[in-house]
Subunit: 315 residues, 2 copies
């Protein structure tokens, strides 16, 4: 037991680069952040990450650093420490992110997809603390997610598992940029809420998801329909997940979460109808607990988990 | 290395009770079977299983028996060794199947759901020998399946994971006994093939799935439409699985497999459209290799796997 050891989680988000020092009991010791600089290229981002980590390390020089985990918005080759592909990180493909940071710091670095890191964070210190298996669905401009099996991220073949947003919920539904029709994220993301709102011809021309939410909260019946549609699509997808995984817990997070009371009734009604497992097993569908910090916690947990599995494997 | 050790797999199928002795290298040493006697109650079935196992044990008395695995058509409480629920095993609920058999034989018994056992069998000695993660979809009167993660069965909360047949493929599709509409098994099982065939008003009144297959194979255009529909539903479900799991391999097995060339074209066309992961990763969709023996192999592998994880955990 090294009570003074800590690890560092990095969240390479679309708006901010955030770095946190978290101890092994999951207490946040210190955090720093600065505006994201993706568009200055990977070398600059690596320097920024290294500087922020050095900053935290200096403040915590009396403690031992276990390692650094980094949540990245893209597909990751975990073994190689590369970003395989990302719409949000131009120029990062084939750039050895992990090895570059490791070279500057001389400590182990682990990369992970940001949604997977968020799911791991919820599993470690958030709404999933009491279970070993869960799915986290993140609602934003798109819909992503992470799948935790026995406390660990399910990666799949090339780390592309958990693409919840591209599950088909309506075979002939809205077209999606991925080439499909009726993807979940075309019927239940913040972008979909705004698009459905625009179809409703509210007084304002380019209504946003937040404005549709305000209208619905104020009792506007047409705006409420938007969230009922959203809930229906979520329910179809969640019922499929429940039937497939039979996990005890499914978490929903992201910007549209405040609209829970508007979309949850149709969501649960669809789930009850479409999953006989749901009713029989006390399956829980809940709001995630850590909000935007889930990814930071998950990233910080990666080196801790890595050390523990290594210790287990070697007795 | 105990070259002479073997384990026994039991497949408690709807028609036959089958028992096989299989060595640790996956070679079938001996097999016996007799008609299933579910309706005589669990005590009789347990006696039959015990007799067949004793029979095999006597023939292989010069070898060491590692343990016995039993594939059961129902939901299993793995820890307790009970059948939680099964449409096919009347009277088995709350009957201590595992402990009763164990009491008679004095060796470790492991229960598993039959579709999970089949998936494990394909993973051990079948079409999935070269991968660690796969999904097996079994087409029959219903549609079941098993999910293998890192070489092990994914159980979920109460062993109910892998209910592939109740994924919603058409939100307003055919009604299902589970309370849902548009379950995969109502659009792609052998039962669904027969039902679609009947809607086509072929000369014969109560056409069977096999007869629809014969008609389609002989070039009947309406019968071909049935398999094109089946392929489309399978493709929607498989695309969802690929997007969720990003596994390297998805296997299809069961009675309708000979119709592969009739349903596969629409199946692959839907998958290509609905999963961007599919095309990018060389994901394989293939026929399972072991046929009706998959469950026997998987059941026999259960005690071998259990012994190995025990050895790993204790160094």
């Amino acid at each position: 037991m090294r009570m003074s050891a800590y690890s560092i989680g990095v969240d390479l988000g679309g708006t901010n680069l955030r770095v946190a020092a978290i101890n092994r009991e999951g207490h946040l010791l210190h955090r720093v952040s600065e505006p994201a600089t993706f568009h200055s290229g990977p070398e600059k981002v690596v320097r920024d990450i290294v500087d922020l980590i050095k900053n935290l390390r200096a403040r915590l020089s009396n403690r031992e650093l276990t390692g650094v985990g980094i949540g990245v918005p893209g597909f990751i080759d975990i073994e190689a420490g590369f970003v395989l592909g990302s719409a949000n990180l131009p120029g990062f493909e084939a750039f050895p992110v992990r090895d570059e940071i490791q070279r500057h710091l001389g400590i182990p670095i682990i990369l992970e997809n940001d949604a997977n890191a968020a799911a791991l964070g919820e599993s470690w210190m958030g709404a999933g603390k009491d279970v070993k298996d869960l799915v986290l669905m993140t609602l934003g401009t798109g819909i992503g997610g992470g799948i935790i099996v026995d406390g660990k991220v399910l990666h799949g073949f090339l780390g592309m598992a958990g693409e919840l947003g591209h599950m088909t919920v309506y075979p002939d539904g809205n077209p999606c940029g991925c080439g499909n029709w009726g993807c979940l994220e075309k019927h239940a993301s913040a972008t979909a809420i705004a698009a459905m709102g625009r179809m409703m011809h509210f007084q304002k021309e380019n209504v946003t998801a937040a404005e549709v939410y305000e209208l619905a909260s104020a009792g506007n019946e047409r705006a409420k329909l938007v969230f009922e549609s959203m809930g229906r699509a979520l329910g179809i997808a969640l019922a499929n997940l429940i039937n497939l995984f039979n996990f005890p817990l499914y978490l929903v997070s992201g910007g549209p979460l405040p609209a829970w009371d508007l979309f949850a009734p149709t969501m649960f009604s669809e789930i009850r109808r479409r999953s006989f497992t749901f009713g029989r097993t006390g399956t829980r569908i809940e709001k995630a607990a850590l909000g935007a910090d889930a990814g930071l916690f998950g990233a910080a947990y990666l080196p801790v988990q890595h050390e523990r599995s290594f210790a287990e494997a070697t007795g």
